[in-house]
């Protein structure tokens, strides 16, 4: 291919962008109902966010996740072509206490009584995708998927076939959280080494008892050193000719 000539050096050879304002985006409710119309059987739930950021998200079901993602990317009004951030979250088993005011009749008088119910929510892993549109310059639409449990090979469908930018980020989730993405073209560990076995970003991860050799261990390090390196055995009987000092 011929090289471009030098005439318009510096600024001349490139264009400058026009300022085209951002499009207004539909509300999450509208997006939800449109997904449900376009993807038959899709179950979408809006996850409210209590923070002042007001970034609510859509919880999509795993079975229809790829079809939903395709719709979000291709739909002309949304065109969420840019998947910016993909990340995992680990939620442990938790107990949610709810207090409801119940009207009961106590000794013939109607009273409002606080009734506390405890609900056990089993833990799960979550993958969160932040989607923007480069075409319409709007966003974010946040979608999340949840695994059934926190098992070793919890599974989720991969969205890499829809957005290539998820490729490395889903590998990172697989590496650090242990979510297995079905349909990912190249699912390997990315930050930890291949032989590493655990998933360090899980909330119940325990660091291995690694010990680096130290020439002069003392205090806590000495205690750990003794644990890791048992004293050298007597080889030929020549050791131990000096009796230890009696204190």
């Amino acid at each position: 291919m011929p090289l471009r000539n030098l005439e318009g050096k510096a600024a001349g050879s490139l264009d400058f962008a026009r300022d085209d304002g951002a499009w207004m985006m539909e509300s999450l409710d509208q997006i939800k109902s449109r997904i449900e119309a376009a993807v038959p059987g899709a179950k979408i739930e809006i996850v409210a966010n209590g923070s002042p950021s007001q970034q609510d998200s859509l919880l999509i079901d795993n079975e229809h996740a790829v079809a939903t993602a395709r719709f979000l990317r291709v739909d002309p009004a949304l065109r969420l072509d840019f998947c910016s951030n993909v990340t995992g979250v680990d939620w442990l088993d938790r107990v949610v206490k709810k207090t409801i005011k119940v009207k009961t009749v106590v000794e013939g008088v109607e009273k409002e009584v606080d009734q506390t119910t405890e609900e056990e929510i089993p833990g799960y892993l979550e993958a969160v995708y932040h989607l923007y549109s480069m075409t319409h310059k709007h966003g974010p639409v946040i979608i999340r998927m949840r695994t059934a449990d926190r098992a070793e090979c919890a599974r989720l469908p991969s969205l890499t076939p829809v957005w290539r930018s998820a490729e490395f980020q889903e590998r990172e989730i697989y590496d650090l959280y242990g979510i297995h993405f079905d349909g990912h073209p190249d699912l390997r560990r990315i930050l930890m080494w291949d032989e590493f076995e655990d998933h360090p970003m899980r909330k119940d991860y325990v660091q291995p008892d690694d010990f680096e050799w130290e020439p002069t261990p003392h205090d806590d390090v000495l205690a750990r050193a003794k644990h890791h390196y048992p004293p050298r055995p007597q080889m030929d009987g020549a050791e131990g000719i000096v009796e230890p000092l009696k204190r």
């Binding site: 510096a10 050879s13 951002a22 002042p52 291709v74 072509d81 910016s84 932040h130 990315i190």
Partner: protein, 388 residues
């Protein structure tokens, strides 16, 4: 609907093998992690046919210290100095991205002067990052030392400014939630203005020396072309995206900080090759100079930190927030989940240079080994951020 999607995807995806080792009649070479032009400890497994790259697998993690987990075990403010170490060229931008996310999470307003200081410091950071990137890129192409030292001379002036303001050249730890840590004196602003006013002289000289250079043009034009479709799908951001002709700059799109108050243009490339990526940096520096001049003219005295923000026992309400800025390398975002406690429940960094490496294999296929170094240099990576 589905038919069009499939054709797009078939076009985008390079042949990928499941195995981490490369196979076949090719010569497998491990480039890095100690290779001088891998900008740190980055490794690529390259399969070569003669000198031509047929496959390329990046290998990460040599600098991995699980920054995100450390962030979950530290208070919100405790992570601020640690964000400096992500992209250690651009600590001010990292501070800003993190502060912006926490401000979204907790609903904090920032006083006017602090916003101006943030813009000034972020644009100074962009100047020194782009200048040194061009120097490094020339170094990778064999212009050993001289262009890099020209760029570092300018960078050093800006780092001196950072030092006199924040106390540290590179690890500035300058921003706070709801403002900045220290106020800039009038003398500091005058000195900064002087340096910025002189900056175009350096740009003229540098562009004269490198951008019209025959060898630079021969080495970079039509090398490592990135199409706009692939760039969007792969989540490429920053100058690399705009070199492919996609008009997307978070400063314009999100209009965060006081950027809507400044007039500036977004340069766009026509070809998406390495030369356009190089030009993009030169042109963005000129726009940054323009923003800085307007900011120096507009900045007024005033408070620099929101007094309502608690320094101790800072606990944002339960919820989540994703905040992002246009860092010199691309879109830098922080995703935070709060459970109402003093530490974030989830602390996630969206590292631009890590995600920009997604297309490294696509860019390098069919080019020579020597071109790989140039293409990698034009991606602009810092391993502190890639490996986290």
């Amino acid at each position: 609907m589905d038919a069009t999607v499939q054709t797009i995807e078939a076009m985008e995806r390079p042949p990928v093998t499941m195995a981490s080792r490369l196979e076949g009649e090719l010569l497998e070479v491990s480039m890095g992690p100690q290779h001088p032009s891998t900008h740190g400890v980055f490794r690529m497994n390259v399969a070569l046919e003669g000198e031509i790259v047929r496959k390329l697998k990046p290998v990460f993690g040599y600098l991995h210290r699980n920054h995100e987990q450390i962030g979950e075990h530290t208070s919100y403010l405790g992570s601020m100095p640690y964000t400096d170490r992500l992209d250690y060229f651009c600590s001010m931008s990292n501070n800003w991205a993190y502060a912006l996310s926490v401000e979204k999470l907790a609903g904090i307003e920032v006083p006017e002067r602090a916003e101006y200081l943030r813009v000034i410091l972020a644009e100074l950071t962009r100047l020194q990052n782009h200048a040194s990137l061009l120097g490094f890129l020339l170094s990778d192409m064999g212009a050993w030392g001289t262009p890099l030292m020209y760029a570092f001379r300018e960078r050093e002036k800006i780092l001196d400014l950072f030092e006199s303001l924040a106390g540290s050249r590179m690890m500035c730890d300058y921003m706070r939630f709801g403002g900045c840590r220290l106020d800039a004196s009038d003398e500091w602003l005058a000195r900064a203005k002087q340096i910025v006013d002189r900056f175009p002289e350096f740009l003229d000289e540098f562009e004269e020396l490198i951008l019209g250079n025959e060898i630079v043009i021969g080495r970079t034009q039509n090398v490592g072309k990135l199409s706009a479709e692939l760039a969007i799908s792969a989540g490429i951001t920053g100058p690399m995206l705009r070199a492919s002709g996609v008009n997307y700059d978070v400063r314009k799109v999100d209009a965060y900080g006081f950027y809507p108050r400044f007039k500036f243009r977004i340069p766009l490339g026509n070809h998406g090759d390495t030369y356009d990526r190089l030009m993009m940096r030169a042109l963005e520096m000129r726009e940054s100079v323009g923003i800085l001049k307007q900011a120096f003219a507009q900045i007024q005295p005033g408070p620099i930190v929101n007094p309502k923000v608690k320094v101790r026992a800072f606990r944002p309400p339960a919820g989540e927030a994703y905040g992002r800025i246009e860092a010199p390398k691309g879109e830098l975002g922080f995703y935070l989940i709060s459970d109402g406690g003093p530490n974030p429940y989830r602390y996630r960094v969206r590292p631009p240079s890590f995600i920009n490496l997604t297309v490294l294999e696509d860019l390098c296929l069919g080019h020579t080994v020597a071109d790989v170094m140039v293409i990698l240099g034009s991606v602009d990576i810092v391993m502190g951020e890639v490996d986290r």
